[in-house]
Point group: C2
Chain length 299, copies 2
């Protein structure tokens, strides 16, 4: 899981983390998904109620950084932006991350898009075409609920693409992510990692509760039956596409509260790395003050 650098000089220190989450959960060189424990809570000493408090406590921190990022882009010459990519098996909690982490951020600073099975129109283009169109603008936090990784995950498991095509796609993804990183996009790739036992419990709950039936899809069981093949596809995709400018994080997600606070800090750390600044006024403040005084009495 990467090297752990001890330092108080990271945002999570104030919220109960022993190390930066981007260090704790990074799937770096030699990463093995089989050895990652979906029930763990790396770097966080507390329990559920501590985790929930930490999530609420860091809201403002994330909010402040997001507002600065947004403001900074208004000056017109800073392209910095963030792209959070969420991938996971069904029920792993993507929706909860969006609701409880992304949902705390000003909606005006977020561009969220969910990728479903490609439409007929989308299929007439290369797999990255529809993704390119949804990239966040400068100053924004883009969030992808599923992404181009589906094309090498379900694409591999369901043999929608052959071996050569899959190889082409890994290469195309590497080039694509290199380019958008060079353009000023801070990329965060997250796999929410749950165990098959935990998924069983969550699917059971959806079947037990009439108010959860709408969240259940019989196809979820078909995908579950391919669990091992999916894990292999994730392992391969992570190995092929992890990079310093496009890092993968495997976030243990059996405990929803841990996954949420961890992703929150991945965002905070990425934003702190950008270190966005309030832009200088592009007008003369004194002149505008005088104009406002002259316009004091209207209406």
């Amino acid at each position: 899981m990467g090297k752990k650098k001890k330092s108080e000089d990271f945002p999570g220190a104030a919220y109960g983390f022993t190390h930066p989450v981007s260090t704790l959960l990074r799937a770096g060189r030699g990463f093995s998904l089989q050895d990652a424990d979906p029930g763990a809570k790396p770097g966080f000493g507390g329990g559920k109620s501590d985790g929930r408090k930490a999530l609420t406590a860091a809201d403002e921190h994330l909010d402040d950084l997001q507002e600065r990022l947004y403001a900074q882009a208004r000056s017109g010459d800073d392209p910095a932006r963030v792209l959070l990519i969420l991938q996971a098996m069904d029920t792993a909690g993507k929706g909860g991350i969006i609701r409880h982490v992304i949902g705390t951020v000003d909606p005006q600073g977020v561009e969220l898009h969910g990728f479903k099975a490609p439409t007929a129109a989308e299929k007439r283009h290369d797999f990255l075409w529809r993704v390119e169109r949804r990239l966040p603008g400068a100053g924004m936090i883009g969030v992808f609920d599923r992404s181009h990784y589906e094309d090498v995950l379900i694409g591999r498991v369901r043999q929608l693409a052959g071996a050569d095509e899959l190889e082409r796609r890994y290469g195309a993804i590497r080039d694509f992510e290199q380019r958008i990183a060079d353009e000023g996009t801070r990329i965060i790739k997250v796999m929410l990692h749950i165990s098959p036992e935990e998924q069983y419990e969550r699917l059971s709950e959806r079947l037990d509760r009439p108010d959860k039936h709408w969240k259940f899809n019989p196809g979820d069981i078909d995908e579950r039956l391919e669990w091992d093949a999916y894990m292999q596809a994730y392992q391969k995709a992570i190995r092929e596409t992890d990079a310093g400018h496009a890092p993968w994080y495997v976030v243990p997600a059996n405990r929803k509260w841990y996954a949420r606070v961890a992703v929150q800090h991945l965002l905070i750390e990425a934003l702190a790395g950008i270190d966005p600044q309030w832009p200088a006024a592009d007008f003369d403040v004194e002149t505008q003050r005088r104009r406002l005084e002259d316009a004091r009495h209207v209406g």
Copy 2:
């Protein structure tokens, strides 16, 4: 401001309102903007801290209704959706409404769009073209930060359109809103109403604080100088386009907290009017339970 019907049978009764907000603030027949007090807090007895508490307390109520609306649309045959249109003079608090009211809703159920001055491409189409493209999907809460009303507000004040063209636009808006209402869209049109004195204070603050400079635009003073003309344009637009299926609400906004809790309840009341229901399962629950048991041991 419309008839006030005394009844405990409305959601706001539990949060400190004497009457439904959609009754209190409706700009109905014979509405006069001159008589509307931007500093008032119609139907709410408490002060700022009560208002803030009320906003937080009703979060879950709004959240539950929104989730039901979203779920209901998943069955595929209920087109119900909500469209909240926000219009206001600069600094009146549209951003705060989006952040503090819309921001409490699951981002997956919201489609937010801000309309700026039309681009060259947009100008090659009729003024409703770009609006049509941003209408919310079934089950969604659409939010327009400015809208097609700019074309009869700044359009009128700055004489970007002549008298005949303005008349055509009012008619086009009436037809357009009638059609989308017939399609299943619950429309809520809000004018956030501040006084020129309050705007002076807010613009001054933006000039005083370097971390607020990015929110200031010298053009805001140009618009301020046309205050009376804007009020006339609002009055005219409201008279021309207020309808039972497309109501206007003039929300006093000198007190930010009041405007926020009022818009929250306009949403809650609209959703309660739809009364969205959890959809029935479109699969046989027992069959799926058996399939899940058969798939219990995977991975």
